[in-house]
Subunit: 670 residues, 2 copies
């Protein structure tokens, strides 16, 4: 009475195709393979607990959808199942920096065995197991024979989300955690307070959210839910309470913490604001002591982030009491005053048994060794921290709102070769963190800003440094992107839905074609051109296009292949088809743009698409036929491309580089 | 420092295009219009409470995204804003059958006024206001001048979701409630218990979910969250506890309630099962009394549904004690025994101050007048109930898993003309309910099974009976479908994501083309062909195609237009483009299907698509040119179409009718 699919023949001949991301430390093929069908069984051999059971169930649910094994499979005990999970012990229950995440996965002769020292290690191996599923002929699935020995290169592999500038509901956080687990990221850095919003309930200080959040905040119960959700996936949650700057939202309800008299309002604009805690009053530390005590109790992780970035000192300089305090205490600069503040709050954290993390501004000569420095301004801060004996994590290259392509950031290493660090110093570099700042992201757009690029960076954090082939990364990233969609992320479907809304119709093919070749401009350009604020609706074309869309790298590869051998028919045909599609989209795009007020700013890009398409067609036919273009064609085309590069507007073409190469080559045909 | 869009010129000239769904009772155009831009303001004039404020904020959030008015707009008091909301009083706080849902909406000369007697009435009007937003030239938005007087035709406009056979998480329920509110449905009928799962926490009887739910159930806290979410949208929540049949999941933990000794297991298979409560033991009623007391406390609605369907009486006949009881009490048939049971449980409901709803099997001559009959087997049960003095709601035509097109069900009326009812009897027909049974839907597929078809049926329940133009309904349904996506439903994006997963690639255009012309077979055919059960993964092509896809009606219209005037170039060109696309999809489809084991059963449909495309091309060119096809072409083509109609498989072509017409006409060209 169950599913009717017959048991497939024994698995003998499935060739391993490596689509794993991140790449494991060591992998070798092995004889045999494991058939996945409706007789599939799983057992837990040794140590077993609720967290391992739940992780195994989640894996089975995904396997069911992926490979058609039945739902509601019971997890057996013992060692006779198709997949045996053998874990030595629970490891730490609260995920920790010292977690042993290693695992060994063997698949051979219709059996698979996953061994790990800890439950978290087993979870990492389960993700790899799911990634190994392949088609087994036309009608079934299998896992090929492999022997994998895996562990991470860095212990701290994080993603920061700024929920202060735009609130992200729990559902967004949870699907992000699912994506993180799928690519073996292990730290969720939760940026909870900003000038524009205070997002975590404090029961001791209810006016923090009561007056500073627009009603958009996480209850403590929700925070506990998120922490448990993360822990179930072996992910740490490090909360950040940014101070002494970026604190306007605190001051709305508690102006007595501020360095100016107030009153304060929730900031709607972005950028660096003047509001700052008053570091000279004992009452500030008393407040923070109580607040940190409450939060230390809520967040079980051993680390707490206290920000420390972009405090401009203006309110301090303007306050005579603070000036007097600085003179009395021989504090010469506002920077030194911030160091004084950092040392005071670090002591508070110590009392509440937390290690402090701070942005690289906290790095001063007398910084306690206990403090972890998160570098957002450059790699050298990390090296400086290490030389000073402080641990560090790198974020500078991994700012998602810079809209860099995966290729641009993939090779950026937390341990850069240029810095001469001793082995001991290098060991202080704990890893890295991607940063998703919140100015321009809302729940329906945040996924495409993070994914799939985060998967490429996760590989940098997990895999050996020697894994650095960009083209192979893109090949696997395309597969990984769909896996991330299957765990619930909306980085593909969200932008598609946005395009439909803009087009006002399901018949939006022309707009999709445009969207396939543009990406959002970086944070700074959008901010300057649109004067964005928290009041700006995020509903334009820029909000429904993806950073580093697949066409960018695809076209680069096609052009490279075609220029290497312009008689290669397949590359030529594919290029022609792409350029034809751009030309063909013209009339449809015009019609959509004319009826859609929200597309007003995108009209120049839309008009340009056909021009680029014709340019591509001209270049390819010229090169294929060895026929020269009319005089001036190349220079005129290059001018067009230069103009397109230096345009104003909210979206950038991502295909100008390959077109330039094509035009350059076609211009040389004589 | 806010958004930079300039204030548009005063609104003077926006022509009303009616895309409202459901259509209001009365609508007239009025002079002037209201500009929507960054100076837009809203005020509440008279009665004001938290529920009205929250509803207004939700409207403003949607307006911000739709029409680029700023986020975080403050709601003013008084009557000087652009949109003034004027409500007389709160109405009932727990939404009720007697709610006054009427409203009046006037837009004229740069002002809009929404008047209602109750908060719920105002909510209905806000949905209409949002639907009125139009482009105002190329760069702005406006609401055209209108005068709308609106109220519903039927008081009970429901949607039932079966969460027993497949569990649907709270997030699915909540987005469904948002969709319901958008189309003015007002009853969420929550089918909570089934043979396959018991989905609501009982604190008195914890083994109900402890043993009968696979851990998939709603906590009471979640149920309260859903009830509050619904109430905030003016939607009643009517829980259903189906009995005496469909009760296996109760009996797993409490076998003493059953008519056979047990033990019982959660049913994995679908269909009518034998398990039934023992209606002859007082202990059964004692249990139900306590259970109903607990649930009556949890669910505030005045109505509670106790099922009553598909009890086959087999366990009763097989139990000598029950046979003896029937003899002793002169109960001749198992049907009469069920009536005895119904009367007993109806008394329990009365004691707990609830009215009973039951499926039409409960309709017996001595049914208490208090009971509402929900007809799932046919319209005449409703008429019978009315003649007997019982209220009724119609569901028979509105079974979403029958996969009928919106056109097929749109004209089905809760008050059918054929039945001769007095005015008083007709008044007993409260309305209707769509039914979404759970056998074949899971969270990622349920939306496309419900939407957008439910919007068409919602119009039947709300709008005057005279609103019955199918083509106009489809014109508006296309717009409504995108509005439903904007409120968070995934009926378009979900299937698209599913197709990508099946194709294993974002480059899935060929599969999308196939998906545009097929729909799922109905419940019965899928059940028979696939022998589905709760263990079946719902991950095939059938799970990622949509009932009544837009192409169905579109092609019908195009063919109709073309056959009426085959020299009409636009129709011909559009038809040719569609058929060309089918032909062109051939190679890509073959490649995708060959590498995707989950598409194995869809391969015959995939192969057929090009054949249909060529047939269409042949027919159109023959008709355009007045050139006859070779002998036998028409009869061979019709044979092909007949074969395609009578196929086996899980998806049906929805384009065979129009193709048949084309072939028929082309066959007559001499």
């Amino acid at each position: 009475m169950t599913n009717v699919a017959a048991h497939a023949a024994s698995c003998t001949n499935v060739a391993f195709v490596n689509t794993l991301m991140p790449q494991p430390a060591k992998i070798a093929t092995a004889p045999g393979c494991l058939t996945l069908d409706n007789t599939f069984s799983v057992s837990i051999a040794a140590y077993r607990d609720a967290r391992l059971d739940a992780a195994t169930e989640r894996m089975l649910n995904r396997l069911s959808r992926l490979a058609a094994v039945p739902h509601h499979l019971a997890i057996q005990s013992g060692t006779s199942a198709d997949l045996v999970i053998d874990v030595k012990g629970q490891g730490s229950v609260v995920p920790s920096l010292d977690d042993d995440e290693s695992y060994v996965l063997n698949v051979t002769n219709d059996h698979a065995r996953l061994e790990a020292n800890t439950v978290v290690g087993a979870m990492r191996g389960m993700e790899t197991f799911l990634q190994l599923v392949q088609a087994n002929g036309g009608s079934g699935f299998a896992v090929p024979g492999v022997e994998i020995h895996d562990q991470p290169r860095f212990r701290w592999r994080g993603l920061m989300i700024d929920t202060g500038r735009h609130f992200e509901p729990v559902s967004v956080i949870e699907r992000t955690l699912d994506g993180m687990a799928a690519v073996k990221l292990n730290v969720f850095h939760w940026h909870l307070t900003e000038d524009q919003g205070f997002r975590i309930e404090s029961r001791r200080f209810p006016k923090l959210t009561g007056m500073g959040s627009d009603g958009l905040y996480y209850t403590q119960e929700q925070a506990r839910e998120v922490i448990a959700y993360a822990a179930a996936r072996g992910i740490r949650v490090v909360p950040e309470f940014d101070m002494p700057g970026h604190t306007t939202s605190w001051l709305v309800g508690y102006p007595e913490l501020g360095s100016a008299p107030g009153p304060y309002e929730v900031q709607r604009t972005f950028g660096v604001h003047d509001a700052a805690f008053d570091p000279t009053r004992e009452s500030t530390y008393k407040f923070l002591d109580e607040f940190i005590e409450e939060m230390a109790d809520l967040f079980p992780d051993a680390y707490m982030h206290l920000g420390g970035d972009e405090s401009n000192g203006k309110q301090w300089r303007a306050n005579p009491e603070i000036e007097r305090f600085m003179k009395e205490h021989n504090i010469a600069t506002t920077q030194a005053l911030q160091t004084y503040f950092s040392q005071r709050v670090e002591k508070l954290l110590e009392q509440h048994h937390k290690h402090m993390v701070g942005w690289d501004e906290v790095l001063q000569p007398n910084l306690p060794k206990d403090v972890v420095v998160q570098s957002w301004r450059g790699t050298h801060y990390l090296a400086d921290a290490a030389r000073q004996g402080n641990q560090g994590i790198l974020s500078a290259p991994y700012y998602l709102d810079h809209m860099d392509s995966a290729a641009q950031v993939y090779l950026a290493d937390p341990l850069p070769g240029g810095e001469q660090l001793t082995a001991e110093q290098a060991n202080l570099v704990l890893g890295g963190e991607l940063c998703m700042w919140g100015e321009h992201v809302v729940p329906r757009t945040i996924d495409s800003r993070i994914w799939p690029r985060a998967a490429a960076i996760a590989e940098r954090f997990w895999s050996p440094a020697s894994v650095n082939d960009v083209n192979d990364m893109y090949r696997r990233l395309g597969v990984m992107s769909l896996r991330l969609e299957a765990v619930g992320l909306t980085h593909i479907s969200g932008p598609e839905a946005g395009l439909r809304q803009l087009a006002g119709s399901e018949d939006d093919g022309a707009l999709r074609t445009l969207a396939s070749v543009v990406q959002p401009v970086d944070f700074g350009q959008r901010y300057r051109e649109q004067r964005t604020s928290q009041l700006t609706p995020m509903n334009l074309l820029v909000d429904s296009v993806r950073p580093d869309p697949p066409m960018r790298h695809e076209l680069e590869m096609l052009v490279e292949g075609f220029l290497a051998d312009s008689s290669h028919k397949k590359n030529r045909d594919e290029l022609m088809a792409i350029f034809h599609q751009w030309v063909a989209a013209g009339p449809g795009l015009e019609a959509i743009a004319n009826r859609s007020p929200l597309l007003a700013d995108a009209r120049p890009r839309a008009a340009e698409l056909s021009v680029l398409g014709r340019m591509g067609l001209d270049a390819v036919s010229s090169l294929s036929a060895g026929k020269r273009r009319p005089a001036g064609w190349a220079s005129r085309s290059l001018e067009t491309l230069t103009r397109d590069k230096n345009h104003n507007g909210l979206v950038d073409f991502v295909v100008l580089g390959p077109l330039e190469k094509l035009v350059g080559a076609a211009g040389k045909v004589r």
